[in-house]
Symmetry: D3
């Protein structure tokens, strides 16, 4: 139960047409805001440096995300179809967990400096249970475009039939509609 | 956003130690029940021929599942971490759908003889909406062990903290507990 | 001695330019004729759902073929350069066999409901020995384009020099020419 | 229609247990006979340096074969399931050919110093048409164990049923039996 | 000119024999020292979290290194045989560069928060030119065991013949011996 | 510590647009000069048959180089980012060596007819120590574009800052400048 890396390239790197290839092409400044000391976010926030934001990653099979957790916030259960995630907790504490394909739940309470690996393709989540302090993590992926299937929004905000969801979750349509309403409301 | 095939092998095939390798080794009879005309199941049922049931598939990057849908039943939303799924609807009709990583829902009503491909790693479901007739499908996978992450059971039967789930689904703990209770109850 | 899967893709799916991508794009109806109850073929017939017939399979590493064997017909020895074949015998009986790279022949008599795996890249064949009944099989491949090298037509209908073939098969030119004539004659 | 390389390794090299790993481990002397000036063979002969003969090739995805063609001899039609073949004609002349999966035959007359690539997984052959001189070629493969499916011996020396072969080649059983007899007789 | 990812696994994860698999197995605490505020190193220092230090990374195709640069120190030219490197400069400034296979040098001066990608397999280096302040970077790799070929130590501390090196670098043996002596002396 | 093969193709072969595909397309005559008996080179010389010189190799994961060593010449230390190298010494003698990632040096003295494998991604060199005779080798690669990072020219002819190199090699700037001057001077 695993997913593989990106396809290989047979050149040193891949540049978009007409793009000047110099040191700037291999540089991305999107994370400066993280070290810049600006005001922290008020909701869980992900900042990515993947193929979309950083074209030089094309064919290089690696990318980053920075995860910012205000006190009491969660990164909802999700999967990455194309990569494991190696999380480095830079600041704060974090409750993390994943479920393997035999329905075993693995959890851990991380402190600053800890690494945790979420195996490829499995559903996982993170939660900052600290009532006072934010948490900051950086996650590495072995793909330039790991992708994310966020389970709550995938299931309850895309228009899947209420009845199908009710049967799937062995509940009633009213509960499904309540979940849809809650997730549809933007904070 | 895709997953790759199984690792290659550098022999013709792989046999377990001390296993006699003759024509029987390459044969699996687990699907005879499907063509045998026995009584159909009363709930949605999956019959698999993967690495676990058919060891000769080791290194051959292909497997099957037979899906039996009594009237009104569903195969709940799930992902396969290691393969796309190519479904062939042999009998009946079937509502199918998947959500891509940009949260677009794609659905289709299939009739007998139709094929539908669920792309690699994406969340998808099937539903037999016919109030009278069962549906029967066979699905091929480009992996000997595609794996399944069934979303309802992964999230609500493995012990993930109620509070984390409530925040994730933007609902209250009572709703999470109701979902857990419903999914815990075996039919 | 094995072959690998297709190259990965780094998007959810691949659509041809200017193609509307909706549920229809992921659907193929080419096999409806199989379940439609039309007259069976009078010679061995293959119906494919591969990259060529079903563009949505691009990058998904899976495809199907339906094999129809009237009584007494054969699918001549061939190889698939890019995939193993997992055959599911839906109806009838079938003699199957393959030869590994050490020149061991593996054969089996299949009954309806049986699965048989032909390992990657090896020469194999199927034969419906039943003098009364047709056989119907569906085969899955772990590639969107497994490819077929049909040995009789590859060797004897493409213009390879008679003398080279005679030496290769340790026979005389007359025998080669007789084989060529037989295979050239369309039924 | 192609086959992939060997699986990767995650060490510099792989040594068998208890094997001393020094410069000798990475050296193979099996081709010394080629440059040694001994008497040439009297029949077509292949000398290999693959995983079996040279264990240090494990995981390195490359191997060699030396092909010696006395005047008028052929390397019968065959496929390599795991690699293309890049032939370098060192001495003599050689008729070469392969057939693609659309049944197009590609042939060439090579002179000493020429390279010819036989694409992955396709049926191909070589023939020394020179009535006087031998030919010598070295072939490189992008796999440590490319494998060989030699078509004449695979089909006609392994015990495949005469009737199946006769139907497959659209000929009579007598012709099949004649071919089997010819190939069974060792020179 | 690129290298591929690790081989895939066909299980959720791989655990060593007799290892208890719980949340701790997926956790590594080796980087706590980085966030712990201890005294900075006095020479360039690398702290790794790869397959060797963190066995749960087996088959997950991702790893980390933390790079600490006191003022005026360098990470000497090296290659990673199995992965690109995506460097995130957490603190300080850094001069970075790599050379492609056409002998083009690409350099950049990074400030805190910048990302720089060193393409797969190419020779590269980092240098903290700041005369006052240290620099701290974290690098992600798309392999659990990217490997490092450090050029100065590989060439000048392993016993390669002086004369071979002198010819290779178009210099005299005395210069080679001087380089060897300098690199042999531990600081 | 290894690198993988080229990405796969899903066609028999890949031809450039508007290129006639016949037997000539699969033939390369660039090595005729080797067997033609012309005057040997006076310096170390490499003749390649890779993707650049032989477009039919695209997607076939194999290539060649012919290495000609006049007496006393060397192929300087280098790495191939995408393939191991399997060297076949056709004529003469050759000192060869490589260094693994644990800084172990492996060396061997080869005689004509010997094969030596340089594992993937590792730094290696060859030297013809014979004061009288030239040496001739052919090397196979498991990639159509193995690539070469020649260490002396990569480090000392591309403009890397003298100070960075001096620190890296634990020497003084004058020595670095002397090395640069020597390598800049064309013979």
């Amino acid at each position: 139960m695993a997913t593989a890396g990106d396809p290989d390239i047979i050149t040193d790197f891949i540049a978009p047409p007409n793009r000047t290839v110099d040191g700037n092409f291999f540089t991305n400044t999107g994370f400066r805001v993280i070290v810049g000391g600006g005001p922290p976010p008020t909701a869980f926030k992900v900042l990515k440096a993947t193929l979309a934001e950083f074209p030089a990653l094309n064919g290089q099979s690696v990318s980053y995300a920075v995860l910012q957790f205000p006190s009491g916030t969660t990164n909802p259960p999700h999967t990455h179809p194309r990569s494991a995630e190696l999380l480095f907790l830079v600041d704060g504490t974090l409750e993390v967990g994943f479920v393997d394909t035999k329905n075993n739940l693995f959890t851990q309470t991380l402190q600053a400096g800890d690494l945790f690996v979420f195996p490829k393709g499995l559903a996982h989540f993170q939660f900052n249970a600290d009532s006072q302090n934010p948490a900051l993590a950086i996650s590495a992926f072995g793909s330039a475009n790991a992708g994310t299937v966020s389970i709550p929004s995938t299931l309850f905000t895309t228009g899947i039939d209420d009845h199908v969801l009710a049967i799937s979750f062995k509940t009633d349509v009213a509960t499904i509609q309540k979940l849809k309403a809650g997730l549809a409301a933007k904070p």
